[in-house]
């Protein structure tokens, strides 16, 4: 059997890769995809705990995380399209209209 902390370590590694992507990439769409990757690593943690504790609450939470992720992807991509229409770029270094 695989111990629980193998899943937790894998999930932490995936989350860290997502953080590196968010911090290093300049393309807004890729940054967005890295956020999806981080959401998925958290989902893996929730399902692992759900299986090892024998509690269905983790899987219900994953279901709701997926719903929110779908809503977030739709709204976020619409924002990226609106930004591209105004500034003709998806480079997050050039998108600074909210900067003080």
């Amino acid at each position: 059997m695989i111990p629980l902390h193998y899943y937790l370590a894998l999930s932490a590694a995936l989350f860290t890769i997502g953080v590196i992507g968010v911090l290093t990439r300049r393309n807004a769409i890729i940054v967005f995809m890295c956020i999806e990757l981080m959401l998925n690593s958290v989902n893996l943690t929730l399902i692992a705990f759900s299986a090892y504790l024998g509690n269905p609450a983790g899987q219900m939470l994953v279901f709701f995380v997926m719903t929110v992720a779908a809503a977030e992807a739709a709204v976020g991509l619409a924002i990226i399209i609106a930004l591209y229409r105004n500034k003709q770029t998806v480079n997050i270094d050039e998108i600074n209209i909210l900067k003080w």
């Binding site: 990757l37 719903t67 399209i81």
Partner: protein, 170 residues
């Protein structure tokens, strides 16, 4: 090595490799395809945890719907050549990787600190809680209110996406 652990190691290696390739490839399309590979390997890992329903939903909703949305947006925006988004190896990037590794070590420290040898094997009822029947029973009894509230979130997201992506708002 049991077949189960071989399956686990293969899928986690695939997940890690596809995630690294996703954040390093230049072309957004290639990145999206690697993220889909990552989602498929995660669905396989969910199967090793006996979460059949979530594994299927992962493929249908994530690899299917959400990633197609990403592909559509990348193809809608004429990004031209990627050279204007060129990302040379700068000190900022090195600091970012250093911070992320520090985060990983922090998570590892917390996991090690809590003495994670308590959960060696999956719970006895792990096989039954991931079935569609069990998920459905839970969702429509105990979690009925959150389930209904998600419909409001989805409605708000649909309206928001249409309003934001519209060209002119009178």
């Amino acid at each position: 090595m049991t077949p189960e652990s071989v399956f686990f190691y293969l899928l986690s290696a695939l997940a890690l490799v596809s995630a690294v390739l996703m954040i390093t490839r230049r072309s957004p399309i290639v990145s999206i395809l690697y993220l889909i590979v990552n989602f498929f390997s995660l669905a396989g890992l969910y199967l090793t945890l006996h979460a059949q329903f979530i594994a299927v939903i992962q493929i249908i909703v994530y690899a299917g719907a959400i990633m197609v949305l990403f592909l559509f947006v990348v193809m809608l925006l004429r990004l031209g050549d990627e050279s204007q988004l060129a990302e040379p190896l700068s000190y900022r990037k090195l600091i970012a990787v250093g911070l992320a590794v520090a985060l990983f070590l922090e998570i590892g420290y917390i996991l090690g600190f809590r003495g994670s040898d308590r959960y060696i094997a999956q719970a006895a009822n792990a096989v039954t809680i991931g079935t569609v029947e069990s998920i459905g029973t839970e969702m429509f009894t105990r979690y009925l209110l959150p389930f209904e509230v998600t419909s409001i979130i989805l409605l708000a997201a649909i309206v928001g996406a249409v309003v934001l992506a519209k060209r002119h708002i009178e």
